[in-house]
């Protein structure tokens, strides 16, 4: 077995976070980056701008963890009390650092701005700290040791935090993890089976020793992660990944997400795609165009939200809309064929459904969605009755449409 794992905790500070006025992206970023090198966070805490509560939280975390990464509260305003709380937790005084203060002044001068007097507080650090430079920002961070644990204090501004993490924390984590570290991490994503079914299929593999399997479900996509440590970790992880891929075929995504999988398959087969969207209103297109480089294979599409747009831009006959309704198999089919023709694409995919909350009927309740994919060999349609509210129906529908394209591209 390898050395003991490094125990990592994070603490996010700030009233705006703890009171729910803004969302913390720093702590998940840190956890994800650390996990990549096998350092698994086991606890995260968020505390407001209260020096006493912060000092207690710092001491508690130092008692549990090897490394504590604190973000936020280094600004110049009165709320920013992380320095004070860190000094209290350490039982040290705050000391003024001339060099940091001079660098701050230089920074303001170079931008042609006078440094506000209140920024001076940002040059104070707990006595004995190691100062951590903040290249993109004003607020330097610091590192202190409490009872054998290393506490890193970083800026709460995500862009600054990311640079400080990369420069000061990541190398330290790698070093602590030790040369003898042997952990391995793999991930497999699937679409088309429920979480419970995937869990059942992987039941035996989840029971094995020294193999940690995790499942995360989001809008039909199930992400399976594999973690293991000790001698032979990489081989064990590779074997487990291959076994999981085999067990979950044909649901395994080619490239992590549905849109990236579609992009990869379009590139591989050198084909082009166009989209015709009704209830998803552009969501399929926006997912696809989120993938860099997709412009070589995604031509564009039509958002045919009103029936008039289905008629004028996609050639859906008025009579068909009257007979079957806009949410129907024949209309989905004609939309897919129409957009394929209009954009001169190899494949056309369509979605038309009742997302709710209004618009549902006894025959076509909210959640009724029809899909079609049209290609040189004809059209394939799909009907689904989805649970959930408007946003869920729309997002799940976009994923199902992408999966329909993916499956048609996987066929030889």
């Amino acid at each position: 077995m390898g050395p003991d794992p490094v125990l990592l905790e994070t603490i996010s500070t700030g009233d705006e976070l703890v009171r729910g006025r803004s969302i913390d992206t720093n702590a998940p970023f840190i956890a994800e980056r650390a996990a990549r090198i096998g350092v698994l966070r086991f606890r995260h805490t968020c505390v407001g701008d209260d020096p006493a509560a912060l000092a207690v939280a710092f001491r508690e975390a130092a008692g549990r963890a090897d490394v504590v990464i604190v973000t936020g509260g280094l600004g110049p305003t009165e709320d920013d009390c992380t320095r004070r709380a860190a000094a209290d937790a350490l039982g040290a005084e705050l000391k003024f650092d001339e060099a940091v203060f001079a660098a701050m002044g230089e920074r303001f001068r170079s931008r042609g701005i006078a440094m506000p007097a209140r920024n001076r507080v940002q040059a104070f650090f707990p006595a004995g700290s190691e100062i951590l430079a903040n290249a993109p920002g004003t607020a330097a961070g610091f590192r202190i040791e409490i009872g054998g644990a290393s506490l890193f204090f970083l800026s709460g501004v995500p862009r600054e935090m990311e640079v400080m993490f990369a420069e000061h924390v990541f190398p330290a984590l790698k070093k602590m993890r030790g040369a003898g570290y042997t952990g391995a991490y793999r991930a497999v994503s699937t679409f088309g089976e429920s979480e419970a079914t995937v869990d059942e299929i992987l039941e035996e593999i989840q029971r094995r020793e020294n193999l940690s399997i995790g499942l995360t479900a989001l809008l039909g996509r199930i992400r399976v992660t594999v973690q293991t440590t000790g001698p032979g970790a990489a081989d064990r992880a590779d074997a487990a990944e291959a076994e999981i891929r085999g067990l979950l075929e044909p649901f395994v995504l080619e490239a992590g997400t549905l849109e990236r999988s579609v992009a990869a398959l379009l590139a591989k087969r050198n084909l082009t795609l166009a989209t015709a969207e009704s209830c998803t209103g552009g969501l399929v297109g926006s997912l696809l165009t989120g993938v860099p480089g997709i412009s070589a294979h995604y031509l564009g599409g039509v958002v045919s939200y009103a029936n008039s747009a289905k008629v004028s831009l996609l050639g859906v006959p008025e009579a068909m809309l009257a007979e079957h309704g806009a949410v129907s198999g024949p209309v989905a089919r004609t939309m897919a064929e129409g957009v394929r023709r209009a954009l001169g694409a190899d494949l056309g995919v369509s979605v038309t459904g009742v997302a709710g909350p209004g618009g549902g009927t006894a025959k076509k309740p909210v959640g009724t969605v029809h899909f079609a994919v049209a290609g040189p060999d004809g059209v394939r349609t799909l009907y689904r009755k989805l649970p959930g509210d408007r946003e869920f129906v729309r997002r799940f529908s976009a994923n199902i449409a992408l999966d329909l394209v993916r499956r048609s591209l996987r066929k030889p």
Copy 2:
């Protein structure tokens, strides 16, 4: 002054959260909703799927808070150990609940699916629990009392958590907050000014006693919140809100978000809109169609990702593309006019830009975006050079396009 404040803590559970594989939206949602009725969260903790660590976290939180809201770990898989940990924290046994089990069976039957055997664990709850129904999902939650604190256990699936929170937790929080409570909460959203500028404009108002002003910035939208308690809170909050609206005009949004503001203004003026999107790839349409009831005013649009789509569907001349390039004012103008005409809409809006990471040139670097809005009175164009990566440029561009429509609709 009113009664003592209710002390709220949240705990999110799950290896996928603590190890950074997915982002927790539940805890911020709860904090924000509770803050609206004056219940301010003072601490949040995230712990992995470890029954012993969870039981300790539940007991610690019960020792600090009046209300603890726990999300996640109620699923049927082996990872899901919240029930076990809650029973341990309470010092109680897990007891099988016939009624919950019967309801689960009924739910599966109605969808024509056999209930997997392992779902049976979801009918076990700590003895003495109050069961909390989960209308949209399988996993019921529960409420227990430890040392005077109420602990609510909710599903970790956001859609289910939101319904359970509204049904079971929110009324309880209101009750605990007490009849003598006098807090008030208001929010104003703006678009078009930087956070620093808004902060400066509101500098004086932020210094006032018994008025807590918060700012949150997301993709150009700045949300300003006002909180106050004590006698006259509602009047004081109303006055502050009116003052803030006055100070921030004309940047104040009509309805919280840009897409809802556009929808409200379209409805008010009884006009229709069509979209022509290039780099945003359908994002503007998907934001608009996320607003219930928009179908009366948003007709649809064209995602003209490839140049051929700009020519065939929007009537952009090949010569114009050759002379000015796809990312240019003239093309943006022609796209807006073209989509307005193609869909027979009152207004057409367009976006064309370089989202990156590829495609940038010295003259048109990544982040160059052109916009236009066409209406009966002519066309207005807008050029912006945006910072940030592909996703940021795309999302910010979609907001700017919506704001362009909003401003043209606000004109008398």
